[in-house]
Symmetry: C2
Subunit: 226 residues, 2 copies
Amino acid sequence: METERTSIWLRPERGSRGRAPEHTRDGIAAVAVRLADSAGLDAVTMRSVAGALGGGSASLYRYVESRDELVALMVDQVNGELDYTVLQHTDWLADLLALGRQSRDVYLRHPWLTDAPAATGDLGPNAVAYLEHALGAMRDLDVDGHRKLEAVGVFNAVVRLLARNEIEQRGTDPLDRRRQLAAAAQLAQGGAHPHLAAALSAPPVEPDVDQTERLLTRVLRGLLGA
Amino acid sequence: METERTSIWLRPERGSRGRAPEHTRDGIAAVAVRLADSAGLDAVTMRSVAGALGGGSASLYRYVESRDELVALMVDQVNGELDYTVLQHTDWLADLLALGRQSRDVYLRHPWLTDAPAATGDLGPNAVAYLEHALGAMRDLDVDGHRKLEAVGVFNAVVRLLARNEIEQRGTDPLDRRRQLAAAAQLAQGGAHPHLAAALSAPPVEPDVDQTERLLTRVLRGLLGA
DNA sequence: TAGAATAGCGAACACTGATCGCAATTGAGG
DNA sequence: CCTCAATTGCGATCAGTGTTCGCTATTCTA
């Protein structure tokens, strides 16, 4: 009856009384991230990761309880690519925007991250560091704590949304993009969707850092006031 | 060399010269949605859906080119549960909040929707209706069209984020929730994460319609001004 | 040095999405 | 009414997946 298992973040990385493992969690996650970077999250198979490590797939289960746990490891690993040490502390918005810019970079570097399943269970150490950093930026703000947490959640959702959008556009060549937009506009022109047609008639907005910062600024101003 | 396939929304539902199919796309999607509602998206297997329809799994591929297309059908189907006919047209915010409330209901009714993969390719008819409706609510707003589209995107992301949160909490009994929160607070109390500790010390915010509307209001005010 | 805990892993299991080819069914054109 | 081509339903099958089991080999602790 001891099917109750503890989170991977609380489980010790290795037992103290046996043979030494050949890999570390970070090493395994690094290999998996490399695979996902170059061939997508679907290419991260127990077999492919084990193969890249030079071992059998069954061995992976000495480190990880399931593939989902492996993905959780990957997510937290790339969350460790941000720099959580620099904080201006004179302008909370500027500090948050800097964080957003870093986060966006991570998404663009690891496109699979945008469609990694939402973290279930408890957060990894780097996710906690992310939270702490964001909250630190807001420390002088006179807002309830849990509302700050809400703000961080929305903040992250917006960064991910825009990054996903950028990645999608990056994968399509501009010619097809124009064609697609034109087709949509023509479809909307049929009269059934006048407002959509109007919206699409305006010149499109370039998705880039500036758009991200502009949107984040407005969203954060709305959420946190002033 | 004719591997080029067209989107399912443009493909005709049935050929005109052969035998009549036994099912409709909507019927298939409805069965799949019912399955997902009661057992999660993973329970939506080609075999299980075909079985529920009383046929073999290979037959499904006469209606759908892949499982992803089936999921796309499901998503658009539940997007059809919203009422796109009522629009006050006196207060854009109120109209958008009404849309958000409906959208939230859909997410809560179909929990799998929060982790359905983001729509790739072009939008289904109900997604287009959603867009048109949201843009209609904003018709008198003096804002660039593509910014309105951005706003709808963020709007939807926020609704989904909060719905996901609600669903997660709904699945956990309050006792465990308290315990989890206390554990996190204690972990943060270690001194390494002071701001996180502070944020968690405040009383938590109930996730419900009111929270959703409050957040949407602030976000939309920030994005669209006043 | 003995013993126990741990790591590595080949082989297997239960599934999955997807394909192929064939038989059954039907509508449209003569 | 008949023909025939288009289309559907689907059993069988394939390649690939996550995961488990049981064994062997290793190595730390006592």
